[in-house]
């Protein structure tokens, strides 16, 4: 088996190269996703591409990786044009990509994923033993720690990401594109990722990091480019640019750094969960004796790595999943395993994590979406029929109250931007005048402007006395909004912090065992 990996044969040190996308334009119908964008990447550097959602940063990366074809512009290496029409071409040209949603086959082993589609898989049969040694050597070289024989769906998200990076390296990638690499990682995993990336740079690889997180850009990158609405605003050496300026470039205007807030004035106990057990599925821990207390007028942040029981927690409260033992009390009333409609009617609002799946019907007009939950309410229903006039008036009120940008109450939910969809969902849930609200990842997928507005709305409700349970994977969000922070790990509350800090939360997220091992 002839397999000489470039990284395995480096003897005389890395040689310089330069990959460039020159004047790339890409249109999807009336939308211009990339407008004459020029970006370049050199050997040994980390180049961060910063921008809000929809700024066009993913599009340009997909073009570099051959997943989309540009309408105009070229890709060049060392001044020579490259023809890249498919990922296969990109791989052959030494470009690798780690997607935000990993491109791994969950039922296959790490080793099988690594060799899929490479000469390593052999011509006639897969020779695992011979291949394993080579892969182990490559992993060791970059200090990437993975178990080659584990099934991918048994791995943590961080480990899966390491597999993805290794996969790109196995395919001979010199230029690596990472799309939102830190979105799913714990703070410690982010640090480890940074180490790996710096190691790769020292070996002469170049790395594009696509992100909307400013802190990481400042910490990790050598150069930073900002994109806004399909245009490249500029490229600077990271050391020579201030974070505030980058935000201004990203948003096109300056934002207030933090949402102003008043002192916490917690009231009566609104939600209590006692020793809740929910069986886990598919290797997830479920809930294992979770205790939680939430008072009126406070925001309790639930931090934790995804998959540690967040979904089960929300499902248990909303009655979407059966609780096997324990008691849930909402404003003095036991709601354990009651029907969801009953629970919602007794004063619970729910902003689910997956908006498109659980909160709205994309192809329905806003009017129908407005009364998805409460279509049987008096005032909406009249003599057994839905009163369309009342529904339209109600929808208009929601649109006005939250300044939802749309073409009118009859607009399809699908035609709204993510931020406006979320505004509408929030408006609908708050119109029900709940005592308790569960907000799962309320700003996921929203741009900076929409995020600060959602934050302001949540704080406004807290000040008005609502009890809010905020579940988020974004530590910044948790820290900005929460009065107290509870850390969820393996289906239990690992600890509740009254004065949270990133370090304290991080330690609880990982658990003491991991702390010692690291």
């Amino acid at each position: 088996m002839a397999f000489d990996h470039p990284a395995m044969t480096i003897e005389d040190g890395p040689s310089p190269w330069r990959l460039a996308a020159v004047g790339i334009t890409k249109r999807y119908g009336p939308l211009t996703a990339n407008d004459a964008v020029t970006l370049d990447l050199r050997a040994g550097e980390i180049h961060a591409v910063l921008g809000e959602n929809g700024a066009g940063k993913s599009t340009i990366m997909k073009i570099l990786y051959g997943m989309e074809m540009p309408d105009a512009g070229t890709i060049e290496r060392d001044g020579q044009p490259l023809i890249i029409r498919s990922p296969r071409d990109a791989i052959a040209a030494g470009i690798g990509m780690v997607h935000q949603h990993f491109m791994l086959v969950p039922t296959l082993s790490v080793l099988e994923n690594l060799i899929l589609g490479t000469p390593l898989s052999g011509r006639f049969m897969v020779r695992k033993r011979a291949v394993r040694a080579k892969l182990a050597a490559l992993a060791a070289r970059y200090r990437i720690d993975v178990d080659l024989d584990a099934r991918v769906d048994e791995l943590s998200v961080g480990a899966q990401q390491r597999v993805e990076i290794l996969k790109a390296l196995v395919r001979g990638a010199r230029a690596l594109i990472l799309d939102e690499p830190t979105a799913v990682l714990t703070p410690r995993e982010v640090e480890a990722l940074g180490d790996t990336l710096r190691e790769l740079c020292a070996e002469g690889h170049g790395i594009f990091i696509v992100t909307h997180k400013l802190a990481e850009v400042m910490r990790l990158s050598d150069r930073v480019s900002v994109m806004r609405r399909g245009r490249l605003i500029g490229t600077w050496p990271t050391a020579a640019v201030a974070a505030d300026d980058l935000v201004t470039h990203m948003v096109g205007r300056s934002l207030q750094a933090a949402v102003p807030r008043t002192a916490r004035a917690p009231g009566a106990l609104m939600l209590e969960m006692q020793a809740i057990h929910v069986p886990g599925q598919g290797g997830r821990p479920g809930l294992r004796g979770l205790d939680l207390r939430l008072a009126a007028g406070e925001i309790l942040g639930i931090a934790g790595v995804d998959g540690n029981g967040q979904q089960e927690l929300a499902d248990a409260i909303t009655g979407l999943r059966r609780v096997t033992s324990g008691e849930i009390i909402l404003d003095g009333e036991a709601i354990t395993n009651r029907p969801t409609a009953t629970i919602l009617a007794s004063g619970l609002a729910h902003v689910p994590e997956d908006r498109h799946r659980d909160a709205v019907v994309l192809d329905f007009p806003l009017t129908d979406n407005a009364v998805l939950v409460d279509h049987a309410r008096r005032g909406i229903q009249r003599r057994g029929l839905v009163d369309q006039g009342a529904v339209t008036r109600f929808t208009d009120a929601l649109i006005a109250a939250f300044a939802v940008r749309c073409s009118g109450p009859q607009a399809a939910m699908r035609s709204l931007s993510g931020g406006n969809q979320q505004r509408f969902v929030l408006a609908r849930e708050l119109s029900r005048q709940p005592k308790v609200m569960i907000a799962m990842q309320p700003t996921r997928g929203l741009d900076v402007g929409a995020i600060s507005e959602v934050h302001a709305r949540l704080l406004e409700q807290r000040d008005a006395g609502m009890a809010i349970l905020l579940v988020s994977a974004e530590l910044d969000e948790i820290l900005a909004l929460s009065d107290r922070v509870a850390v969820l790990r393996e289906g239990r509350i690992a600890g509740v912090l009254d004065h949270p800090s990133v370090e304290a939360i991080g330690a609880l997220m990982l658990g003491t065992a991991a702390e010692q091992a690291a």
Partner: protein, 333 residues
């Protein structure tokens, strides 16, 4: 049939022989279908492809006088039918279940039309010479298992041989790895630079070829004639067998044997005279199908991307381009 006869070996040996005979076409169709499904294509058209194989194989065998040419033609026709199914579902992205159902109606009709037009008018009784049994030396003299397993027609030995071949193809070959990946996460396959469409078309061709072989086994090796409706739901049973066999060749073979045994048993019971009415007995294997699929549903391990068309990339012409872009030796460090 009396209960006492159950104790006699003369009851069991012919029963086992018959089980294996009945299982043979199910093994063929099930192996092919498991490849399709692992690659993410639910080929509901197996039934129709078996009918096409049965008629095509029968005609070719009858006209050439050579049953093996008949099998060859049936395989080729099945593969073409599989490619057609693949064109509709993989490239055009049509729903696999609806396409499969319609394909069955079409293929069953076509088979009986072709038979009626080309054959019935010209020949009153069309019967093929039966394929002689080949007794494997030594093995066929083994006690109990010898006769049922090793005194069969060569097509049965073919089924034995294909089980490990398909196991190797799916579980050990690089193609099998990419096919399994295509059935679980086609995006990953695409992003690894492999062609999802090509892999899936290959899988449907293999599935069709095996269904054709299964159909020809019925017409050429077992009945010696073509009869309308002779597939009689075996294609659908093959679908159940794949689920019951957990999409693995050895499991598929075992599941096929189980179904073969039930079918052979109900035949014996009919012949032997049973208090249960014959038509109910005929339904036994189908009843078992429902039970098995219901039980298997609990531990469903369907490939994640089954019946999900993958629409991004055309059959790639990029091998050439890839070489053109290869890094010059100097920059490879």
């Amino acid at each position: 049939m009396t209960w006492a006869s159950l104790l006699e070996i003369t009851f069991w040996i012919p029963l086992l022989s018959a089980s294996i005979r009945v299982a043979t076409p199910l093994i063929f169709a099930g192996l092919g279908e498991s490849v399709c499904e692992r690659a993410g294509i639910l080929n509901v058209g197996v039934e129709g492809m078996m009918a096409l194989g049965a008629i095509a194989g029968f005609l070719a065998a009858f006209w050439t006088g050579n049953p093996w040419i008949g099998f060859g033609v049936a395989i080729a026709v099945g593969a073409l039918a599989g490619l057609l199914f693949g064109f509709l579902t993989v490239i055009r992205g049509a729903d696999q279940i609806v396409t499969g159902v319609v394909f069955n109606i079409f293929a069953l009709g076509l088979a009986s039309f072709v038979y009626a037009r080309l054959f019935v008018s010209a020949h009153s009784v069309a019967q093929l010479p039966s394929i002689p049994v080949y007794r494997v030396p030594t093995l066929s003299t083994l006690p109990f298992v010898g006769k049922p397993f090793f005194a069969q027609t060569p097509i049965v030995y073919c089924a034995y041989a294909l089980v490990p071949v398909f196991w190797f193809l799916l579980e050990r070959s690089p193609w099998g790895l990419s096919a399994r990946a295509a059935g679980e996460n086609p995006e990953a396959v695409d992003s690894a630079g492999l062609d999802v469409w090509r892999i899936r078309l290959q899988a449907t061709a293999i599935g069709g070829a095996m269904a054709g072989l299964a159909g020809a086994t019925l017409s050429i090796a077992q009945v010696g004639a073509y009869v309308d409706g002779m597939v009689a739901g075996r294609g659908f049973i093959a679908l159940a067998i794949v689920v019951f066999g957990a999409w693995r060749p050895w499991g598929v073979a075992l599941a096929a044997l189980l179904f073969g045994a039930v079918d052979a048993l109900q035949l014996r019971m009919q012949i032997g005279g049973s208090i249960v009415p014959g038509p109910l007995l005929v339904g036994l294997p189908y009843l078992l199908t429902i039970v098995v699929v219901t039980l298997a549903a609990a531990r469903a391990g369907y490939p994640a991307a089954i019946n999900k068309p993958y629409a991004r990339r055309r059959l790639s012409r990029s091998r050439r381009v890839a070489t053109a872009n290869a890094l010059p030796a100097g920059t490879r460090s």
